[in-house]
């Protein structure tokens, strides 16, 4: 059994430390990229929420003004 496993593992090379540095580069690039995308989405959502809230507030004020004008007449 042990000989079988050893023979099977011959297909894979022992730990290859040469790939560690390029692979770590992928790690920081990948994690940075995901947080950049997430950050931009959060900012976009906040700006959009603010814009919608401001538009709703403005609409509400206009409606109140119209209501007041109608009441005064």
């Amino acid at each position: 059994m042990l000989n079988f496993l050893m023979a099977a593992f011959d297909n894979l090379t022992p730990m290859n430390w040469d790939v560690l540095k390029p692979a770590l580069n992928f790690l920081w690039q990948g994690m940075l990229a995901i947080f950049v995308v997430i950050g931009l989405i959060i900012i976009s959502v906040k700006i959009t929420s603010y814009a919608i809230a401001a538009a709703n507030e403005s609409k509400k004020r206009k409606e109140e003004e119209t209501q007041n004008n109608n009441d005064n007449q």
């Binding site: 496993l5 099977a8 593992f9 297909n11 894979l12 090379t13 022992p14 730990m15 290859n16 430390w17 790939v19 560690l20 692979a23 770590l24 992928f26 790690l27 690039q29 990948g30 994690m31 990229a33 995901i34 947080f35 950049v36 995308v37 997430i38 931009l40 989405i41 959060i42 976009s44 959502v45 906040k46 959009t48 929420s49 919608i52 709703n56």
Partner: protein, 380 residues
Amino acid sequence: MDFLLEGFKALADNPKMIAMWIIGGILIYLAIKKDMEPALLLPMGFGAILVNLPLSPVIGDPANGEHLGIITSLFQVGIEASEAMPLLLFIGIGCMIDFGPLLTNPKLFILGGAAQLGIFVTIILAAMIGFPLNDAASIGIIGAADGPTAILVAMQLASKYVGPIMVVAYSYMALVPIVQPAVIKLCTTKKERMIRMKYSAKQVTPLMRILFPIIVTIVSGLIAPDSLSLVGMLMFGNLLRECGVLKSLSETAQTTFSNIITLLLGITISFQMQADAFLTVETLIIMALGLFAFVFDTIGGVMCAKLINLFSKEKINPMLGAAGISAFPMASRVVAKMGTKEDPGNHLLMHAVGANVSGQIASAIVGGLIIGILGPFCGL
């Protein structure tokens, strides 16, 4: 009468097929008896038996002078050509997701991103063990805890291990309730697990719910164009749900459409479960690496939550970081259950759902990023 014995002779030439019958049987058992992702494990299990019967016409290949088999045809059209099946499934998934809890607290998005750490750490380990970069990246994406993403990335990177990766990805998604609690307890103290979080049921406007999928698609598409297939389909499904004028389409996408695709996907995946390709030592190593990816995803999410707590006045329960993996809705339920177990008055479900759905988006984006960053290095 020799034709009656052809099957047995072929089986004698390749007895590994019997091992695949056993594996197929185990998948069917897990699906039925243990209720582990039955929608996928049962078709995969039965398919594993089907494709490993000698002289099986379901995997007939005209290149070998055979008649085109049904499973070969489904694989070529549904997965090999343009990864249509997993992408179409994402429409249904997008229809099922309510991003309201995430939009109420967009900071939870950060946890979704952090919970993808296991993907990259596993890529490093797989590459160091000796897997070629494209295979290492395809193995790492198991950590996305998302079947369609795993299939898409493995196919686009032309991995040799698509079959084991698919089986492992879907199997481990069902093991989330077993794997995560142990890792969470290792990374957190009881005091941290008892942190209560206020939930304000702030109403998200219908306009915001409609704009969100459009915003996510545009931002992801501009920064990570390779993620557009996954993110686009997910967000299209969500837009169908939130637009309010396509209720019948949304219901169809969530139910009948998703069920059809799931049914076909399960049996199509079994094309990659032929004995010669599946029964290798590499498959066992991929299973171990898949578990490693899930563990590090959980660690990444929890540690990110703890890091945020260092700078934030309003503390986040670190367990929410574990909900940031894409296994929806299981991860959120696991975290909510652990929260009430530690403190019966601590209701974390809505926060956990917010983190969980952010993980759905984050895993799709990471899938695209991996194809974009590593594709050129793999010569693709």
